[in-house]
Structures are given as structure tokens and as C-alpha cells.
Amino acid sequence: MHVMLWLAEGTWEGCVDAAAPLIPADARVSLLYVVAEDVPHAAAAAAEGLMGRWRPRPGLTEQMAAEATASGEALVAAAAELLGRADAGQVIRRGRVEREVVQAAEAADLLVAARDGDRSRLGPHSLGPATRFVVDHAPCAVLLVWPDEAPDVDSIPPPPDGGHRHPHPPRPARGEPPPPPDRR
């Protein structure tokens, strides 16, 4: 079994901690970090808008991408240490984050990703746009972990009609149409 951990700043430690007890001892592990290339491009594009004054230094975009790569390598190395798996493969890719993750996950049986969205209002927004894309398009099973403590079931607000229904309605029997979803 090949388990791939997608690591990003801010959530990588939680991702490693949550995944560590769940990874089989004999599984092959790789640690993935993607350098977002659009960010240096955005910085360079802003300089283009200055109509010629202050020519951006040649190679600035490349220099920023190189800095980001070095920082990603350090992050992945730190994650390997935290995981206690010196044998873990370290994969650094460059490009559009969500697409690179999906591409990389082709080689894996299980992709571990951390939720990185808005934790104050759980729901669709608890996944950031890149994570959402990865969950929707991953070519393998995805294990979604909370980067810190998992929320309590009580954090789900009561349904709008007063809360007399069970928060998790029983599954419909096979053949029956599913009930309309609860609108939160």
C-alpha cells in the first residue's frame, strides 16, 4: 500500500499527527509538497503594470520559486522526522497546487489531506478551494483529517424547523428516493 501525505504550511504538523497512527507499518509512505507557481507570477505581474518604471529584476520569479522550493523541502524533511519515517519518499512538485496534487496522487492508493477551511463555520467552507478540488478529483481514496482536534457532534446547529427531527435521519431503504437534504 502506498500512502501519500499532502503537506502544506499551517496544517502539515496536524496532518502528520492525525495520519501517523492510521498508516500501516508496512505501507510505503511519500510526503508531497507543491510549490504554488501562481504566487510568484502574481508578484511579477504587478510589476508589469508599472508601465516600465522599475524594471523587475531579471529572474525574480525564478528566484522566488526557488525560495519556495527550498522552504517546501525543509517542510517535507521536518514532516519525515515528525512521522519517524526516514524512509518516506519526499516529493516536491511545482505548478497549480490542486492539479499537481491530483497528478501526484495517481501513484498512491491513499491520499491523506488536512482540512484547511474556515473552522468557525463547519460545512462546505471547512475545505479550502484547493482541498475541495483534490477531494473532488483524486484518483484514489482520500483520508481527510482535522489538523487539530476533531469538532464535537454538538457543533452541528439544530435544523431550522425547531430541532425535533433527528440530526442524522435514518438511511432510506434501497429503492426509495433519498430525503431532501437538510438546509443549514
Binding site: 499551517g10 496544517t11 507570477h41 508578484a43 516600465g52 518604471r53 523587475p56 525543509a74 478551494p129
Partner: protein
């Protein structure tokens, strides 16, 4: 030549000048086409000589002022001012993403207001990128904040944006009065950007990075002191009715002398920082736009521009300026709109500035430039801008325009 033919020729020359300025084929200076085009405009009589001289005379001090600010920022960078700002932000954020974003807002708005948006885009943004990597936080919100603030936070002072310098001359306001009127719109624009960027990038502002307890770099006291004194000088000179360009020049000279004496910069570096081709480009662009205005488009603009200082006409003017800045880039946009706006006094001029300064966030750099830029990028096999940046622009520009113009309207009633 007939009136229509001269008008068409002037517009063609303006278009060629703008395209070359954006594409810069083989890295040639934007002045290479602009200066001959301006000479042609005068030689063919499209812009009469006496009008050209008058135009050049009014642009001259502005260009001197710009040169001084360019040198001030360039020399401050050599003294390590921006690197020190990065170190300070890394340490003060203590690995907290929202704290780092707040620091980027403070530093970015201050640098933009005092040393111009150019300094934020070219000198501060790479430092912010490196800082985020250093404290192991996602760079995206911080870098995008820099690029947005370079535009939105360039409302405060005449030196914050070249468009402001041009408008400052046209408005006849003093430096201090300009700042007093624009203080509220400036703060309003920054506040709106803060609220929207925090929400937009919520998923990138998670977790905690590392605390950067390492290298402590002492802030470079000399450039900070010179810049602070120069800023003070802007207000003092304006109160005693001396051109604040002198304060900028004094500050630039103080940094240049120190840098050359300590061997941090050669005279060649100083000449490069002055950027003579760019100054020539601004002068030439002013003359070409002058010709386009003179040959009839000025009247058309005058009829299009809403007059008066009511809230509605200020809003309409700001929106028009934002659209024009995105259509043809903000520099020619402000040159075209200023004569008509200046007739209505300070309020309309400031509304034009809100439009041309904050508007470019809508399409990266103005749509003409965006298209050309995309083409240039494809040639270099790099990726075009993501839809994310465009969505962010569409989300922030309308509310920033609205709230800043509202603040301007209030400010005009209080400051007058």
C-alpha cells in the same frame, strides 16, 4: 492634415507608445518609441509648439519630484530597509498567519504612501514572499495583499503614485491639504481590503508557522531618519509655500551621498535609480496625450465627465476613471481625465484618483496591459494569471471604489 486625420494619427501614436511600453520588445526602453512619437506630434503641428512648451513646463517639476522619490526608495533598499522590514515582520508575527497579514498591511500601506506604489511592488513584495517562506506560512494571502495595497493604499499623498503627482499639480492643492483630504479615503480603502482579503484567503490563513527567533537585524537608522525627515519636509515646505519637490530632492541627495561614500552604491547605480528613460517617457506620454486631448478628444471627455461635487457625480467619476484605467492603463487615463476634472475643483480630481488608483486591481494591470502581458508570458512558457486573482479583483474593486468615494465625499465636507 484634416482635423480627423490628425486626431487619428495622435491616437495611433498613443496606442503605439502604450503597446511598446508594455511589451518592450527585446527589452528596449519605453522611451524609444514615446520620445520620437512626441517629437512627431509637435513637428507635425498636431500639438502646437506653445501648447507643448506649456505642457512640458507644468510636467517638469512633477518629473523632478518623481525622480527624487525613485532615488529615495532605491537607495533605502540598498541600505537594507526592506530586508529589515522583512525580519521585523517575521519576528513580530510569531508564526501567526493573521498577525503576519496585519503586519503586511501596516508595512505595505506605509511604504506605498511614503515611497510610492512602485517601491511596494518591486522592493517589498519579494521580501514579503521570502518572509512568509521563512516563518513557514502560505505566501499567497500576503503576496496578494501587497499587490492590492500597492494600488489601494496609494491614495494618501502626492508621492504615493505617479497619478497623484500629476493630479497634485493640476489640483493646485498644497501637499498637506492633499493628504488631509485623502486620509479618510485611504483608510477606508485599506479597511475594505482587509475585511475582504481576510475572508477570501481564510483557508490560507490557518495553523501556525515557526517563530523566527534567529537573526536580529538592527533597523537601518540612517535611511529611516532621512525618510522621516523628508516626509516632515513635504509638509513644512508646503506650509511655507516652497515646492515639496525640494524636500524630496534633499532626502534623495542625503541618501545618495551616504551610499556613495560608504561604497554601497556607485554613481552608475544612482543614475540607474534616477531612471532617465522613464522620466523621458512620462514627459513624452504627457505630450502625446496632450495632443490627443487638444485634437478633439478633450472635448469628448469633457462632455462625458460628470461635473460637480455631489456624491453621485463623484461616484460616477470614480467609476469612469476605474473603467478607463482598465481599458488603457491608469497613466494615460489620468492624463486624459485631469483637464476636465480639474475644472470642477479638488473633489472631482480626487474622485478620478480613487478610480485610476484602485481600479487596476480589477484586471491585474489594466486590460490592454493584461492581454499583452499574457502574450508575453506565453512566449516565455509561463502560466497566465489564475482566475483566482481576477475573482479577487472583481470582489474587492467595486466596494473599495464605493467606500473610498463615500469617504472622500465626507472628507470634503469636513476638510473642505
Amino acid at each position: 492634415m484634416s482635423g480627423a486625420a490628425t486626431e487619428v494619427l495622435a491616437i495611433v501614436l498613443l496606442g503605439a507608445t502604450l503597446v511598446v511600453a508594455v511589451v518592450r520588445p527585446r527589452g528596449i526602453s519605453e522611451a524609444v518609441v514615446a520620445v520620437p512619437a512626441a517629437a512627431l506630434v509637435v513637428a507635425l503641428g498636431i500639438l502646437p509648439l506653445h501648447v507643448a512648451v506649456e505642457e512640458a513646463r507644468s510636467l517638469g517639476p512633477t518629473i523632478g519630484f518623481l525622480a527624487a522619490v525613485l532615488v529615495l526608495a532605491g537607495m533605502a533598499e540598498r541600505d537594507g530597509l526592506f530586508a529589515a522590514a522583512g525580519t521585523w515582520m517575521a519576528a513580530a508575527s510569531r508564526g501567526r498567519p493573521v498577525a503576519l497579514l496585519a503586519l503586511v498591511f501596516v508595512v505595505g500601506s506605509t511604504v506605498t504612501a511614503i515611497l510610492s506604489l512602485d517601491a511596494t511592488v518591486v522592493l517589498l513584495t519579494p521580501v514579503v514572499f521570502a518572509t512568509a517562506a521563512r516563518v513557514r506560512l502560505r505566501a499567497r494571502p500576503h503576496v496578494y495583499a501587497c499587490t492590492h495595497l500597492a494600488n489601494s493604499a496609494s491614495l494618501l499623498l502626492p508621492v504615493s503614485n505617479l497619478t497623484n503627482l500629476l493630479a497634485y499639480r493640476a489640483s493646485g492643492l498644497s501637499f498637506a491639504r492633499f493628504g488631509a483630504i485623502m486620509a479618510l479615503p485611504w483608510l477606508a480603502a485599506i479597511a475594505v481590503e482587509w475585511l475582504l482579503l481576510r475572508r477570501f484567503f481564510a483557508s490560507d490563513l490557518v495553523g501556525r508557522g515557526v517563530t523566527d527567533g534567529g537573526r536580529r537585524v538592527a533597523p537601518p537608522i540612517y535611511p529611516v531618519a532621512v525618510i522621516a525627515l523628508t516626509l516632515l519636509g513635504f509638509f513644512v515646505t508646503s506650509i511655507v509655500h516652497i515646492d515639496p519637490a525640494f524636500a524630496a530632492t534633499a532626502g534623495a541627495v542625503a541618501l545618495v551621498v551616504a551610499a556613495v561614500r560608504s561604497g554601497k552604491a556607485s554613481l552608475r547605480d544612482v543614475v540607474r535609480a534616477v531612471d532617465v528613460p522613464f522620466l523621458a517617457f512620462v514627459l513624452a506620454l504627457g505630450l502625446i496625450v496632450g495632443a490627443v486631448s487638444y485634437r478633439g478628444l478633450g472635448n469628448a471627455v469633457d462632455q462625458l465627465v460628470p461635473h460637480g461635487a455631489s456624491l453621485w457625480s463623484l461616484l460616477a467619476l470614480a467609476a469612469l476613471a476605474a473603467v478607463l484605467a482598465n481599458a488603457i492603463n491608469n497613466l494615460p487615463a489620468v492624463l486624459l481625465l485631469l483637464p476636465a476634472a480639474a475644472a470642477g475643483g479638488a473633489g472631482p480630481v480626487m474622485a478620478v484618483l480613487i478610480g485610476v488608483n484602485t481600479g487596476p486591481n480589477l484586471t491585474y494591470v489594466g486590460s490592454l496591459a493584461t492581454m499583452l502581458w499574457r502574450r508575453t508570458l506565453r512566449r516565455h512558457e509561463a502560466e497566465p494569471p489564475t482566475s483566482e486573482f481576477l475573482r479577487l479583483g472583481a470582489l474587492t474593486v467595486p466596494p473599495v471604489l464605493l467606500v473610498a468615494t463615500l469617504a472622500l465625499w465626507l472628507s470634503l465636507r469636513v476638510v473642505g
